[in-house]
Subunit: 198 residues, 2 copies
């Protein structure tokens, strides 16, 4: 849409993430963009989930920004948090089972941190880091349902071992917050933040 | 998934709706189904949005059920409601503009009614009607953003003149309830209701 072109003022948009979900969300919103995946080694020094995702999104965007002369660079990171414990991607099927068992019938939070960096002629002229939290409540899951879901392989590369936009959609009773934040990028908030950026 | 086959106990599932969104949601959840679009003339005698969508989903499912001997027939209807006023699909672009202007910066409700009818050997053996409500909060929209969105044609066949799963995703600040209910079918609740059905 024209409004998105206006937002980015003709600058290139660079997504510092290889996630196919984030790419789809940027396209759905009407952005034109390039992808440059950061190869930075992620360093976690925080335990607070909001701080973790902001720090990791900043690391990814900064790494890619170093390699660009001009453009708007967007980094993002998503984690699932429950009772102070951060759930990343499951290590194996057993780990996925334990995560889903833990999330069954309860409410957890999904945090996505986003970092936007604007570079012009090699200089950083603006930088923002923010996060969104969405609360997600799951129906109680039977063990058979969990095993059936794991057999679909969908959980294996997802934070918290589920994809709300996939087969796990039927497990979700309700959410409070932005749905796209759970998918991996709070696209509405991103547009709002770009309105007075760069 | 096997769990979905178990739910429907080998019976055919018939979706009494031609909506491409509802078809996608049933497929995403793992249902095998046929489509039989109801040609019943929708009669609205209610003003309460929950009663309206339940009544219309019942009319659609009943109409299709009359033409089937066996199967699980699913009817659904979605409306947007704000301050007691029901917003259906916009009549024209001006109507879409007025609806979006009204929804801008505020919270409204999306109601989807669902009717499930189980028929065996020509007899109705079970029937359920329920609804889900999701509250949706939009960011304030500039007139230019609304006009740009209308130019995309996306609003024209959508209740409330927007598609949360489309370009209007960036207009949404938060929701409370089931996301898929806003898209047109509360798929998680449907699975729960099927657990003790038929």
């Amino acid at each position: 849409m024209k409004q998105i072109e206006k937002l980015t003022k003709g600058q290139s948009v660079i997504l510092a993430s290889g996630s196919p979900r984030r790419k789809e969300l940027l396209s759905q919103a009407g952005f034109s963009y390039h992808v440059m995946v950061s190869d930075v080694e992620e360093v976690i020094t925080e335990t607070n989930p909001a701080k973790v995702v902001m720090s990791l999104s900043l690391q990814k965007a900064s790494d890619v920004a170093e390699k660009c002369l001009d453009g708007i660079i967007i980094g993002a990171d998503t984690v699932v948090a429950m009772e102070g414990v951060i759930l990343g991607k499951p290590k194996d099927e057993k780990d996925a089972f334990l995560m889903l068992k833990r999330l069954s019938g309860t409410t957890h939070s999904v945090f996505t941190g986003v970092c936007i960096i604007c570079k012009k002629e090699g200089q950083i002229v603006d930088k923002k880091v923010f996060y969104e939290e969405t609360k997600v409540t799951m129906y109680p899951l039977e063990e058979e349902e969990i095993l059936d879901y794991i057999a679909s392989k969908e959980p294996m590369d997802k934070a918290g071992a589920y994809a709300i936009q996939g087969k796990a959609g039927i497990f979700i009773k309700e959410i409070k917050g932005d749905y796209y934040n759970v998918v991996g990028l709070p696209i509405g908030r991103l547009v709002q933040e770009l309105k007075d950026f760069g």
